[in-house]
């Protein structure tokens, strides 16, 4: 069997915990919200919004870091090549991202159909962005998973390959870069322009387009880093 597929399956040997953590935490957050808002009055104009959906994205972000810090040394110890590990890891992660996005989409549809689970709750739907096209709507669930995953992979690989010094250099550079931009924007009075630009962006661009544009170079850079990383 292809070694890439083997790695993807290898990371799924303890599938209970792989699937259990993100969904367990999301469900917990959901149930607490349902319980909470069903006790609070049900006036028509009160439409509670929560950030609970973010929890599953955070868990997946952490999982993508663990894949490098824990699965990578294990897989290499078993005689897997870095290339196979990388591709298998991406395959496994993307597979999860796509299926989780599909389930989230489904839950959002149910949420709409049941008037917010009977308590007017907006948990799975995205309150601030309206995306009507079903494909774009599905992708707006999936792409943030992928972006976070590759950010996690890239950060963990910098740590794996260059250690604490690498992390310090990376974070210093990032802070200096962002800080410089903020100073520049203040100085030139660009904030209104930036605000306007952001407001003009359609929802799908912020959730699908830009994440996709960022994910691709991260994927490439990560591959280059892992080829010279040691377990």
């Amino acid at each position: 069997m292809n070694r890439t597929l083997i790695v993807a399956r290898l990371q799924f040997v303890a599938w209970c915990s792989v699937v259990g953590w993100p969904w367990g935490i999301l469900m917990l957050s959901f149930l607490i919200n349902v319980a909470l808002f069903s006790t609070i009055g049900d006036s028509e104009d009160f439409e509670p919004r929560t950030g609970g959906l973010v929890s599953i994205y955070i868990v997946m972000f952490i999982a993508s870091i663990n894949a490098i810090t824990q699965d990578f040394p294990f897989a290499l110890g078993l005689g897997v090549s870095r290339r196979s590990f990388y591709l298998g890891n991406v395959l496994n992660y993307a597979g999860q991202a796509i299926s989780y996005a599909a389930v989230l989409y489904l839950l959002a549809v149910i949420e709409e159909a049941t008037d917010g689970w009977g308590v007017n709750l907006l948990f799975f739907g995205l309150p601030f962005l309206v995306v009507d096209n079903p494909v774009l709507r599905f992708l707006s669930f999936a792409l943030p998973f992928l972006l976070l995953g590759f950010v996690g992979i890239a950060i963990a690989l910098v740590f794996k390959r260059w250690g604490v010094n690498g992390m310090l250099t990376l974070s210093t550079t990032a802070l200096a870069g962002l800080g410089g931009l903020v100073v520049l924007a203040n100085w030139r009075g660009w904030w209104s322009v930036i605000g306007g630009w952001l407001a003009d962006q359609p929802g799908w661009a912020l959730l699908v387009g830009w994440p996709a544009l960022l994910t691709l170079p991260l994927a490439g850079i990560s591959y280059l880093i892992i080829r010279r990383a040691t377990p």
């Binding site: 303890a14 824990q70 040394p73 290499l76 110890g77």
Partner: protein, 306 residues
């Protein structure tokens, strides 16, 4: 016999430390090789380079005739069990075995399950909660059941008691006999493995001190004691490794070609002759430049030649 591993002038340096200093050797197929040396001698570094996990600074490495780095064909035929192996923290013992089963083409599940019984591994326990000895046993199970054509064991028995270690040696030997393969056993418990290994590589501070057949080494180093003149006479043909003197009596460790007749010669000269075990030989050779051995007053002790 064809060589599974060929290493030429291999050097590994990191941050000013020379872990391997231009070593060259080759390992023949389907034998048990002992990779011996003190901690920090470079054994683990060598195996990490041979398995493509680390990068050499210079020199050539060939495994199954190819370079191991990112070489799927070579990597799939190797199993490397190291003392420092870590496992993802969400895995249980059964998960680790299932992962190994997925990865190793020659994995034998029945053998793995038998070994799990032998080492009394708790199948359902999380790897984080395994004792040091159990972790070692898990590595041993994976290494043996993988039946990889080239298997490295790097100090695989940390935390294992003498009984468990004997189980390891017995199963290694029995399975190797039925399924011949190339095994590299890195250890400092030399006495325990001296009867198992056919070929010895001795590393010391990144250099290769010995690359010999284990049998050829037996009887090569002897310790002879008695009157100075007689000892001198006996040891004429050998290379002096260690000398201790007290009054007119000298104890001398020499390396040389001492056949069965040496015993008679020693007796004729009125000397006591002790042949050194593999362990003694390794200790003598790797400490031959170390003159820090403490000796009580009145006894002179010196290490002469390495």
């Amino acid at each position: 016999m064809s060589a599974v591993i060929a290493v030429t002038d291999l050097t590994k340096r990191y941050r000013g430390v020379t872990a391997l200093d231009g070593i060259s050797f080759s390992l023949a197929e389907n034998r048990i090789h002992g990779l011996l040396g003190r901690n920090g001698a470079g054994k683990t570094t060598l195996m990490q380079i041979l398995t493509g996990q680390h990068f050499a600074t210079s020199g050539q490495v060939s495994v199954f005739g190819q370079h191991p780095y990112e070489n799927e064909q070579v990597l799939a035929r190797m199993s490397f069990i190291k003392e420092s192996q870590t496992y993802p923290t969400n895995l249980r013992v059964t998960h680790v075995l299932r992962a190994a089963r997925l990865v190793y083409p020659s994995w034998n599940e029945e053998f793995a399950q038998r070994l799990v019984e032998v080492f009394q591994l708790p199948r359902g326990r999380n790897v984080r909660k395994l004792s040091r000895g159990m972790l070692s046993a898990l590595g041993i199970v994976v290494g043996l059941a993988s039946r990889a054509p080239l298997t490295f064991f790097d100090e695989p028995y940390l935390g294992l008691d003498a009984v468990a270690r004997q189980h390891f040696y017995d199963h290694l030997l029995a399975d190797y006999t039925e399924h011949p393969r190339t095994i590299v056993l890195s250890t400092h418990l030399i006495d325990e493995v001296s009867d198992l290994i056919e070929h010895v590589l001795l590393l010391d501070r990144g250099r290769l001190l010995l690359d010999v057949e284990a049998e050829a080494l037996r009887g090569q180093v002897v310790t002879v004691s008695g009157p100075v003149a007689a000892v001198q006479e006996f040891a004429r043909t050998g290379t002096e490794l260690h000398r201790a003197s007290l009054g007119g009596t000298t104890r001398l460790t020499v390396r040389g070609d001492f056949g069965p007749a040496a015993q008679d010669r020693a007796r004729a000269l009125g000397l006591v002759l002790e042949a050194s075990s593999l362990q003694d030989i390794v200790v003598r050779l790797s400490t031959a430049t170390d003159s820090s051995t403490p000796t009580p007053a009145g006894v002179t002790s010196e290490e002469t030649i390495r």
